[in-house]
């Protein structure tokens, strides 16, 4: 029965498919985070390679994974974070990369090879490094404000703060505050982190992974847990001078979003060209100036202003306070222990 349904559905797709495509140029399907690269870069790529790029957005690694598992095949380039690359690789969801087609990888900063998901770039190439920390508005907090996760316990900002709606990031902040690893799988430590999150919850307006940017810009929220580049973007692009970002003194999470080709990709060659293009030095520089994250491309560094390149927030891995950097960790995939996280996170979200 199922099989026949499948066949009937496939026939229908074929009919519908013909109505859907207009031009004959090949189409590259990219699945990425919202507003993650300069659209001018995309236009340039389309001109040079005679193709069209269609971009769809996901809001979390889990959404990306769930969609691919549910049958959203046909994406050519995806941007998962390191831990998701590991998981997808184990699940045979990625196509091995052909290094021959990626000559620009010579520019990759060797300092970061070891910490990327895939030091040999067999399956993925790092796109941007960033940190998760605190963003706040200087006009709404006392002058002696110091970045610490414990701010979430402060009733002064009740209803004007948010944490990420991301299990690993929220749990990570609590684990760090308690002095544990954010990849801890110790049930006792995790339970303690859960209790801490429950204690913070009454002060929070919401758990939010995307909307906090606008809310901080308009001062609806005054302290948020967020991604470094997103928060700098508010200051630089929306010209909201009062916005600041820092990694809290307890340490935060480090992450890299990588570019990979998922199984089922239709434009494998073009996908390689796209990944390679994003590591062309001028393009990498242009994207860094656009999204305020750190692309580990040495040739691109040379094209950036000294001011920009010495920014300790954007280039935290290069110029951040070494002591603080030592307290930060990359989020890793935990396999079976994921279920434990989910259970505690559920309790937190269900708590009053």
């Amino acid at each position: 029965m199922k099989r026949y349904l499948g066949i009937a559905l496939a026939a229908l797709t074929a009919i519908l498919g013909t109505t859907a495509c207009g031009s004959r140029r090949p189409v590259l399907h990219v699945y990425t985070w919202a507003d993650y690269f300069d659209m001018d870069v995309v236009r340039q790529f389309e001109r040079e390679f005679g193709c069209r790029v269609r971009i769809d957005n996901f809001a979390s690694n889990e959404e990306l994974y769930a969609k691919l598992r549910a049958g959203a095949t046909g994406y050519d380039v995806i941007f998962p974070t390191t831990y998701m690359v590991h998981l997808m690789r184990r699940e045979n969801m990625l196509i091995p990369l052909d290094r021959e087609q990626l000559p620009n990888l010579v520019h990759l900063d060797p300092k970061f090879r070891a910490i990327s998901a895939d030091p040999d770039n067999a399956y993925s190439v790092p796109y941007m490094f960033g940190t998760t920390g605190l963003g706040w508005r200087t006009d709404r907090v006392p002058e002696d404000f110091e970045a610490s996760w414990t701010v979430f316990a402060n009733p002064e900002f009740r209803g004007r703060m948010s944490m990420l709606a991301d299990m690993r990031e929220a749990m990570g902040a609590a684990l760090k505050t308690l002095g544990y690893s954010l990849n801890s799988t110790d049930p006792g430590e995790l339970a303690a982190a859960g209790e801490l999150l429950k204690a913070w919850k009454p002060q929070l307006a919401r758990y939010d992974s995307e909307g906090y940017r606008n809310s901080l810009a308009s001062a609806e929220l005054v302290v948020v847990q967020g991604y470094s580049g997103d928060i700098i973007m508010i200051r630089e692009d929306d010209e909201v001078e009062e916005v600041r970002y820092a990694v809290p003194r307890e340490g935060g999470s480090l992450w890299a979003d990588e570019m990979a080709i998922p199984a089922g990709a239709r434009q494998v060659e073009l996908a390689h060209a796209f990944i390679n293009f994003f590591h062309r030095p001028e393009i990498a520089a242009q994207n860094m100036e656009y999204n305020y994250y750190h692309c580990p491309n040495m040739a691109a560094y040379e094209l950036l202003d000294d001011d920009f390149l010495s920014d300790p927030v954007i280039f935290f891995l290069l110029h951040g306070d070494p002591e603080l950097l030592a307290k930060c960790e990359f989020i890793e995939d935990l396999g079976e222990a994921n279920a434990l996280y989910t259970r505690i996170w559920d309790e937190v979200r269900a708590a009053r």
């Binding site: 859907a20 399907h29 971009i55």
Partner: protein
């Protein structure tokens, strides 16, 4: 006895409640200030930014393409369904009616999750096609219900007259029934088109490569984009709404015996 003051005042307040948020958005879209409430000057810059926003324009084109296919399929399916429901009064039609009615009332989340898990388990690729299939499922119900309502006002003697004048069944349907049903079918089609263009939840569940529709893009903008550009987009959508409501009203009023 005239309506008392309480119902009238309530009506007035409800209308204010309905239109205040819309008004705020429209005003904001012409204002230079980024935050609503701060007074600025008149501008059209947000509309220019909107038209230049490639992602929005692509999403709009995707939505229109999907909407067109959905409207066509659901109008045909829905009209035939309405004819069957009207003509026959059997057990099968009771089941048929139940099935037509259900997608209209079932919450979007339920339809979204069940279609997603269904597509996943039969191995159907998520993308534009899956969105079209999902949309037709609920749009055909709306078309069927609108056409059915129209059919119930239909004067059966006209068909009898056609037969008496020697028309075949097909002739009677094509020459008499369909022209009289035309406005109803058109209203159903417009409704289907609007609902397809408006749907976020179900689309979000079953979307795949190249299937970022306008609502999905709007959702992403609400969370991530620049507010004034969203005001401008909202204003455009609201204006379109007025136009389509006006069209539906004209379509249904024309040829309606006074």
């Amino acid at each position: 006895m005239k309506a008392g003051w309480l119902p009238r005042v309530t009506t007035l307040l409800v209308l204010v409640f309905f239109y205040l948020p819309i008004l705020i958005l429209v005003l904001g879209s012409f204002n230079t200030s980024r935050t609503i409430g701060v007074r600025g000057d008149f501008t059209l810059q947000w509309y220019v930014r909107l038209v230049r926003d490639r992602n929005v324009m692509e999403a709009l084109s995707t939505s229109l393409q999907i909407g067109a296919v959905v409207t066509l399929l659901s109008t045909v399916l829905g009209t035939v369904a309405a004819l069957a429901l009207h003509r026959f009064r059997t057990r099968m039609q009771r089941i048929h009616y139940g099935l037509v009615y259900a997608p209209v009332v079932v919450p979007d989340v339920l339809m979204g999750i069940s279609l997603l898990l269904f597509f996943a388990s039969v191995g159907f690729r998520l993308g534009r096609a899956s969105i079209v299939l999902a949309h037709v499922t609920f749009c055909l119900s709306y078309v069927a219900l609108v056409v059915l309502a129209r059919l119930q006002e239909f004067d059966e003697t006209l068909m009898e007259a056609a037969y008496d004048l020697g028309a075949t069944r097909t002739q009677a349907v094509v020459r008499v029934l369909l022209p009289l049903l035309g406005p109803g079918i058109l209203a159903g089609a417009l409704l289907a088109f609007t609902i397809s263009l408006d749907d976020f939840v179900i689309t979000f569940f079953v979307a795949g490569p190249g299937a970022t529709t306008l609502p999905i893009s709007v959702y992403s903008m609400i969370r991530y984009g620049r507010p004034p550009v969203i005001y401008a987009l909202s204003t455009v959508l609201i204006a379109l709404t007025f136009v389509s409501v006006w069209m539906v009203q004209r379509a249904t009023q024309r040829r309606t015996p006074a």
